[in-house]
């Protein structure tokens, strides 16, 4: 455990420092607009993925957490009954939401060490690239979680898809992005507050209620094959669009908040 954390700390120094260093001397401040946008995004994303690949911090804790939720929920109702299909949508997404908060909370923690975030702030690298890299990284982590956990849900809750199954990945992608884009932004907000671990769910959950409702309802409709999930998928898509825009508009302001 100790060795692992030390290794993690040491590793986080090198690649993040490289990323920031790469961004700082690239251009004088006057040429801010010319900063190579996708390069910063790609470098940050790859750095986070490599860190996660070596430490597996986020994935391990997320998967185990989701597994616990599955088991704990199974005590509160009969999971293999006929009703299981109706509640499964809600259950799956609540488990993913709770588990995602674990990963989201760690998003910026690495960048605090060694003042990497401050280096970003003074560098010419566009702030939104950093944000998008973090959001995409979280998106990938949560997607992996979903891919790992979905078979378990199917087995444990005896699920069978009656509606059009090809819609489920669409719902998953739209829903995950809705959680992750706001979650990444709010993690940056809660970073500046006291008791930051508690703060993230406190601000993320109320704002995410419409998205959560969309995911749960769409999943339930597909599982039971009762009606059309079109409304919910459109709602999720518009939600994603609106909040991605708001996040990208406001991120630099929040990053520079003093």
């Amino acid at each position: 455990m100790r060795a692992g954390s030390v290794k993690d700390g040491a590793m986080s120094t090198t690649p993040t420092a490289t990323t920031a260093a790469m961004a700082v001397p690239r251009a004088p401040a006057t040429e801010k607009a010319i900063a190579p946008a996708p390069k910063v995004l790609f470098a940050t994303l790859m750095k986070d993925l490599r860190l996660e690949w070596r430490s597996k911090d986020a994935i391990n804790s997320m998967v185990f957490f989701a597994l616990l939720v599955v088991v704990v929920f199974s005590f509160s109702f009969d999971p293999t009954g006929d009703d299981a299909r109706r509640i499964a949508g809600g259950l799956i997404w609540v488990a993913f939401l709770f588990a995602a908060v674990v990963a989201l909370g760690q998003t910026w923690a690495r960048e605090i060490r060694n003042q990497v975030l401050d280096a970003y702030r003074v560098s010419t690298a566009p702030a939104n690239d950093l944000f998008l890299a973090k959001a995409l990284g979280n998106f990938l982590f949560v997607t992996v979680l979903e891919v790992v956990m979905t078979p378990l849900f199917v087995v444990f809750y005896n699920l069978r898809v009656i509606g059009p199954a090809y819609l489920l990945p669409v719902v998953a992608v739209l829903g995950t992005w809705a959680l992750v884009v706001n979650g990444t932004f709010f993690a940056a907000i809660s970073l500046r507050t006291r008791s930051r671990e508690v703060m993230l769910p406190l601000i993320l959950f109320p704002i995410s209620i419409p998205a959560l409702l969309g995911m749960v309802e769409a999943t339930k409709i597909v599982l039971t094959g009762e009606s059309s999930a079109k409304f919910w998928i459109v709602l999720l898509a518009v939600y994603d669009l609106v909040f991605t825009t708001v996040c990208l508009t406001l991120f630099e302001t929040v990053l520079d908040a003093e």
Binding site: L202, I203, I209
Partner: protein, 228 residues
């Protein structure tokens, strides 16, 4: 206390008294619900006032993001807090009315649920204000206010669609209001807005004074050279 403030308070008290008189005496008793319905004259004006204050909070936050003035941030915190008070009154008076009329305190009807979700959003806004420190508070809160306001249409739309799929015997929507009832509602709304403005004025003054104190303390500790 200064004379204009005293006059304002007197006007508010008079308006509230007149509104109460309109609601309790002038407005006719509702046919099926009886006197319980009179809570409507407080419930609806509170809701409208709350919405006005939340909207003011949104515009003050946008103003802050553009101009970074302490005035706009003070207005934002003031309107959010006072708005939340009125919104809480809505959430309390609703069940008091619902219990005798519907036979239940609460139902997960579209309108009730979205009211509650909006309440949660603004509570989380105030929590962030409370838990963040120093000069960052204003920026973080303003950003969050934009998120909260952008979320409102989604909340209403999603919950409305969600609940109307499962029809419930709820909300006396149709029907016409007696003109005297309308008068009672509108007078009370006027009184509530005046009341809210006076409350906001006091809260705003308090906020400004608090900032002055903090600034002075910071300056003092700077001059003394000892970290506080």
């Amino acid at each position: 206390m200064k004379t204009p403030v005293l006059i304002a308070i007197a006007v508010v008290v008079a308006l509230l008294a007149f509104g109460l008189y309109q609601g309790l005496v002038v407005a006719p008793t509702e046919q099926t619900m009886g006197d319980v319905q009179r809570i409507f004259y407080y419930h609806v004006p509170s809701a409208w006032t709350g919405i006005l204050l939340f909207t003011a909070n949104f515009f003050a936050s946008i103003w802050y993001l553009f101009r970074r003035t302490t005035v706009s941030d003070s207005i934002a915190v003031t309107t959010a807090e006072v708005g939340l008070v009125f919104w809480t009154i809505v959430l309390i008076t609703g069940p008091i009315w619902a219990r005798p009329v519907w036979g239940i305190w609460w139902t997960w009807d579209a309108r009730l649920t979205s009211t509650l979700v909006l309440w949660l959003i603004y509570v989380s806004y105030l929590i962030v204000r409370r838990f963040s420190s120093g000069g960052q508070t204003a920026v973080l809160a303003a950003a969050l206010a934009v998120f909260g306001f952008a979320d409102v249409p989604f909340v209403y739309l999603s919950i409305w669609y969600f609940r109307t799929q499962h029809p419930q015997p709820v909300i006396g929507g149709g029907g016409k209001l007696d003109p005297a009832m309308w008068h009672a509602v509108l007078y009370n709304w006027l009184a509530f807005i005046a009341f809210a403005l006076v409350l906001c004025w006091f809260r705003y003054q308090l906020e400004r004074k608090q900032r002055d104190v903090e600034e002075t303390l910071a300056l003092e500790s700077l001059l003394e050279g000892s970290p506080r």
